[in-house]
């Protein structure tokens, strides 16, 4: 096995071990979308009427509508969680250890991205299984078809987390991420309500939602779950993933980071 693969496996394994050892994190990651699905959606099922929009071919309950958005929510929170852990690593010094590896820095960061995405995808499948137990199920082949969409979405949001972590110097600043990144990204998207509904109330909000890369990740997941393909959502998500990854790599350039300046 070459050293690239060894480092990739080691970093993914470390992510997995960290996740397994933090049972509360796993439970919290599942409880959050389940509360939305079983409490919020139940309260809103009668309040929000839905028309038939692609990829749906008939009328659906609100619970069914928000499942792809909640899958996106898991990816989003996990992406941010990994950015939090990077900040923690930096404070604890383990980041310094990692970045002193002879392998290129981009490879180390990419490995970190793969690790966090793998954990996110596992959480999404756990959530989908619980949702199915509560009667919110998708076409069976959709569970397989959604995997590439989850990976692309997971990498995009993980890259965003990576980018943010390169700019956050202290753990305390993470609350800002919550307020200024997670909430706006989640609420200004098609995760909880279709965009035509948003357009009815405000054209400006609709435009922001339509530009939000999280909207496109959610739509990519939604279409894949119903064995449909949304080309524009894929292009937007891949484009956003590329931009975030490049920016994160720039953010972690040795000349910019403290690790780089003070090896």
């Amino acid at each position: 096995m070459n050293r690239y693969a060894t480092s990739l496996l080691a970093i993914v394994k470390r992510e997995a071990l960290r996740f397994i050892h933090q049972r509360e994190r796993f439970i919290a990651a599942l409880v959050r979308p389940l509360v939305w699905l079983l409490v919020f959606a139940a309260g809103f099922r009668a309040a929000l009427g839905l028309s038939i929009i692609p990829p749906y071919q008939t009328y659906i309950t609100y619970e069914t509508y928000i499942v792809p958005g909640l899958c996106g929510m898991i990816l989003l929170f996990n992406g941010m969680q990994s950015s939090l852990s990077l900040v923690y690593d930096r404070e604890m010094g383990s980041m310094k250890l990692l970045l002193t590896s002879p392998l290129p820095r981009w490879w180390l960061l990419f490995s970190k991205l793969v690790g966090s995405t793998a954990i996110s995808v596992l959480q999404v499948y756990a959530f989908l299984a619980i949702a199915a137990v509560f009667g919110v199920s998708m076409p069976v082949p959709g569970y397989l078809a959604v995997l590439p969409a989850l990976i692309v979405g997971g990498i995009m949001l993980g890259a965003l987390g990576l980018l943010l972590s390169s700019f956050i110097s202290q753990l305390e600043n993470f609350a800002g991420v919550m307020n200024f990144v997670i909430f706006p990204m989640f609420f200004l998207s098609s995760a909880l309500y279709p965009l035509w509904k948003m357009a009815e109330s405000s054209q400006l909000l609709y435009t922001i939602c339509a530009l939000n890369p999280f909207t496109h990740a959610v739509e990519l997941i939604r279409f894949a779950l119903y064995l449909d393909f949304n080309g524009s959502a894929l292009i937007w998500t891949v484009l956003a993933a590329t931009v975030f990854t490049c920016a994160a790599l720039w953010g972690y350039k040795p000349s910019r980071t403290s690790e780089g300046r003070k090896p």
Partner: protein, 323 residues
């Protein structure tokens, strides 16, 4: 090689035959458009639209499917259409405001509910003459005829009764009270049971045909829907009369009722203001007419899941199957 090609040929023939046996059309009346939409049961697309008289509602085919009868309520006529061409052949004398009707198993006598006149009109479709007019309760609507053709039922919306008509004498022989606004009636289990839906009462009542006595009553409860909006209207039975699929009007759901235990087993979300329904040839798919949303929802009977909603004309109401 020849043997193999024969097997392949036979397999293709069998597949084609099976597919033809299941293929067919669902004809849907569009109340506000004065049209009927024809849906292909395989492609689930509207393949034809024909014009009708004003406010078409009840629809049924002759036994050989060579004629389709349509209640054009505001034209005060039952129209007879050639389903192959969509041409109106002639009108039948129907009395005022015909809403629902049922064709007797003799393929000749049509029993028509005249909502405004409180009568049931019996028309001979061959001679095009009114055979009898039977006084029933106020605002008659639901119509049914027993499989042996001996009993016809009219339900009256305001009197809240099911009226039992002896088809030999064309006279009432029993009247039974049901819950508010009975709108649809059907015989089940070889005619041994007669079911009536009550729109305002929110119930489905089962009568024993032999004694005309109430046998069971079902009510419905849809999660997240106010009880006032649960208004049972049309219903149909699956193969072997094991289950009934019941349209719940503005509750926008179809209820699945076990016809043996009379328990409600499931609710399926469909379009807005679901009225009536029709099955495809092998009763694997159910097509429901959704008045307000202007579409027809296709339900997979086995999985009890809605597959697709097909746009038709404005305010679809009645539905009938044609092979």
């Amino acid at each position: 090689m020849i043997y193999l090609s024969k097997i392949a040929g036979a397999a293709i023939m069998l597949a084609v035959t099976c597919s033809m046996a299941n293929s067919g059309e669902i004809w849907v009346t569009n109340e506000k458009d004065d049209t009927v939409s024809v849906i292909d049961t395989d492609s689930l697309e509207v393949i034809q639209t024909y014009e009708t008289g004003e406010r078409p509602r009840g629809i049924t085919f002759s036994n050989d499917f060579s004629r389709v009868y349509i209640c054009a309520s505001d034209s005060d006529a039952v129209q007879v259409m050639d389903p192959n061409t969509g041409r109106i052949l002639h009108d039948l004398p129907s009395g005022e405001d015909p809403e629902q009707f049922v064709l007797h198993p003799d393929d000749t006598h049509l029993y028509i509910a005249n909502e405004d006149d409180a009568i049931t009109t019996v028309v001979n479709t061959q001679t095009r003459k009114v055979v009898a007019q039977i006084d029933v309760g106020v605002e008659p609507e639901g119509m049914a005829v027993s499989p042996d053709g001996k009993i016809a039922i009219t339900t009256s919306e305001t009197t809240n009764m099911a009226h039992w008509i002896d088809t030999a004498t064309q006279e009432l022989f029993a009247n039974t009270l049901v819950d508010s606004r009975p709108r649809h009636a059907e015989f089940a289990k070889d005619g041994s049971e007669m079911w009536v839906s009550s729109e305002i009462g929110g119930t489905l009542t089962v009568f024993d045909t032999a004694t005309q006595s109430e046998k069971a009553k079902m009510s419905f409860e849809v999660q997240g829907v106010h009880p006032d909006r649960v208004q049972p209207v049309g219903f149909e039975f699956t193969s072997g009369d094991t289950h009934a699929f019941v349209a719940l009007g503005p509750a926008n759901h179809i209820a699945v009722v076990n016809a043996d235990t009379y328990a409600v087993e499931d609710y399926i979300l469909v379009g807005r203001r679901v009225w009536h329904m029709a099955f495809n040839a092998d009763k694997t798919k159910l097509f429901t007419t959704n008045g307000v949303s202007g579409d027809v929802t296709v339900i997979d009977v086995a999985s009890r899941k809605a597959l697709k909603s097909i746009k038709v004309g404005r305010f679809p109401w009645g539905a009938a199957f044609r092979p």
